[in-house]
């Protein structure tokens, strides 16, 4: 049930896509990340569950470069990316969504996604051509919007979308950067039943094509989607394993699932 024993075959043969190596971070006296080591395989969907305030978002912040760990290393495709900035990590193929929706409210839905495409297609030090008319950026953006049924809303300012639509746009933006690893911070939170179902279906479609680290409170979704699950409590990983292994782990039951049942 520990990290090494349950590493999947793919990871063992080609080396994992993401390796967290003894990551630690404190906020004052609070050990928000406490000696966290875990791996995500190149095509693995690895879920992290844990109670509120366990340090899940802070962990994603450190992987994406929004926050710096106090100690430990982050390896991406074998390279130590700990010193890289957030933008540099994104350019390497590391995309993330935000728990608190983070979009460009004045831009149209299409432009939000096209700009993410632009981030991965050539230089943006181009000063003459009208970017919003570049089909090379708009066409891939429309394909992704279609995947989320957002195409009819393409010309709406993103700030005017409903909450659930914004959550989907958030995901669409992350995907538009053509990532090798997707970090998702509670993509289902606050979405309607139908929207959840659509996002879960999209994630199932993506599964196996890239690495995904998924933070989610919706246990049904996690148990459906995840290859492996890690349980984070007070900044520590107390268990990693398959859905069944985690479900039946007594420590997890008392620390987390038990609380939920009660």
């Amino acid at each position: 049930m520990n990290e090494t024993r349950s590493a999947p075959m793919t990871a063992r043969m080609t080396g994992p896509l993401l390796v967290l190596d003894h990551l630690a971070k404190n906020y004052g006296a609070l050990k928000v990340t406490d000696d966290v080591s875990l791996t995500v395989g190149a095509t693995e969907l690895h879920a992290i569950i844990g109670p509120n305030g366990a340090g899940k978002t802070t962990l994603i912040h450190q992987i994406s470069g929004l926050a710096q760990p106090d100690s430990g290393r982050i390896l991406f495709a074998g390279e130590d990316i700990t010193p890289l900035t957030m933008a540099e990590r994104a350019a390497e193929g590391l995309a993330r969504s935000f728990q608190i929706t983070s979009i460009l409210p004045d831009f149209s839905v299409l432009e939000n996604v096209a700009l993410a495409v632009q981030g991965r297609s050539g230089s943006s030090f181009r000063f003459v051509r009208n970017a919003s008319r570049e089909e090379a950026l708009n066409a891939p953006a429309r394909v992704i919007l279609n995947q989320f049924d957002l195409l009819p809303r393409a010309d709406v300012p993103a700030g005017l979308l409903s909450y659930g639509e914004k959550r989907q746009l958030e995901l669409a933006i992350a995907l538009a950067t053509r990532p090798r690893l997707l970090l998702l911070d509670e993509p289902l939170a606050g979405t309607s039943h139908e929207e959840s179902a659509r996002i879960i279906a999209t994630l199932k479609g993506l599964k196996g094509t890239l690495g995904i680290l998924l933070i989610e409170h919706d246990m049904d979704a996690v148990f459906q989607l995840a290859d492996r699950i890690s349980v984070l409590v007070y900044g520590r990983i107390i268990a990693t394993g398959s859905a069944d292994e985690v479900r039946n782990n007594p420590e997890v039951r008392s620390a987390y699932l038990g609380e939920e049942a009660a």
């Binding site: 933008a87 540099e88 700009l115 993410a116 632009q118 943006s124 181009r126 000063f127």
Partner: protein, 328 residues
């Protein structure tokens, strides 16, 4: 005196769609400026021409500031420093007998680019009020440097021996010629800026103004784009400085006073941020209002200040959106 401004208010067509109304404003502004010299000949021509030339030159500087404020959210309080660099490039070179406008302009652009690169690299590491303060500080630094240039007039400044020469000819000695040089420069820079803000580069900046963290998460480092924009804006303001020196045939530290930087911010806010022609419109209204009020009383500042504040409070978003929204 309000020839350039009057057609604007009357120009809103009855049921024009929003997009048409949006291009109507710049068209009317530029058309008004194009025919103003013809109208000016029926009045005190040299006074009107020199006033409107000044309006366009400061409109050019306001345009550069709108790039920073309106499109990148960077409220610079030191934009007049770049006007000063342009003006002093003309003044200093002229005092050494170098009168060609090409060389003077090249020197102004090079000096402003270097100054912008150095001060921008430092200022852009700060945000909000700190950015305002540090750009103000760099502006003041240059101001006091200019006052200490005893060889070039120090506090008092210096009168130019003549206006700049164009390929060795004194074309600019004609007020009309200078007017149209300013007009064409403003028009070309306006069109170039239109392209710039719509380009990939401009889109990154507009995105970073709304949400810098999101931009980093999709692979953009806003700092690099903001620095390049800061340099471009500085060079445009220096161009305005070259023209301003020729308009007044006089160069002094006052060209780069902090009050001038403040006036430019007011013009941008008054005209409407983030539209480019709003900045030009702001400059027209600001300078003509100043002129009119100054004709009534020497204490015009006392009226002008509160008037500006009322305008900003009551015409939300400035004059340009007001016109664009108007339905007669």
């Amino acid at each position: 005196m309000t020839d350039a401004a009057r057609p604007v208010e009357q120009s809103v067509p009855a049921a024009a769609p929003a997009s048409l109304r949006r291009i109507m404003v710049p068209i009317v502004v530029f058309a008004g400026l194009a025919i103003a010299p013809w109208i000016a000949q029926f009045g005190t021509e040299s006074f009107i021409l020199s006033l409107l030339t000044r309006v366009m030159v400061l409109g050019l500087a306001a345009l550069s500031l709108d790039l920073l404020i309106g499109y990148a959210g960077l409220v610079s309080f030191g934009q007049a420093a770049f006007i000063g660099i342009g003006a002093y490039a003309v003044g200093i070179l002229a005092s050494h007998g170098i009168n060609g406008i090409a060389l003077q302009t090249a020197a102004a652009l090079a000096a402003s680019a270097i100054f912008a690169a150095i001060t921008g690299a430092i200022s852009l590491r700060t945000r909000g009020v700190y950015f305002i303060m540090i750009t103000l500080a760099f502006g003041q630094m240059l101001f006091f440097l200019a006052t200490s240039l005893a060889a070039y007039g120090g506090d008092d400044g210096m009168t130019l021996p003549s206006r700049s020469l164009f390929l060795g000819y004194d074309l600019l000695d004609s007020d009309r010629a200078l007017y149209y040089v300013a007009f064409v420069t403003l028009g070309l820079v306006y069109l170039a800026c239109r392209m710039l803000v719509a380009s990939r580069f401009g889109r990154v900046l507009r995105g970073a103004r709304q949400n810098p963290v999101r931009m980093q998460a999709i692979g953009f480092s806003p700092y690099r784009y903001q620095l390049v924009l800061y340099i471009i804006a500085g060079m445009i303001a220096a161009l305005a400085g070259v023209l301003l020196a020729n308009t007044s045939e006089f160069v002094s530290p006052a060209t780069m006073s902090w009050q001038r930087s403040g006036d430019l911010i007011f013009m941008v806010v008054l005209g409407g941020m983030g539209s480019l022609h709003g900045a030009i419109l702001g400059a027209i209204v600001f300078l003509l209002a100043e002129e009119v009020l100054a004709g009534f009383t020497e204490h015009w500042h006392i009226i002008f200040g509160p008037l500006l504040i009322l305008c900003v409070l009551y015409i939300r978003g400035g004059i340009t959106p007001l016109i664009e929204r108007t339905r007669p």
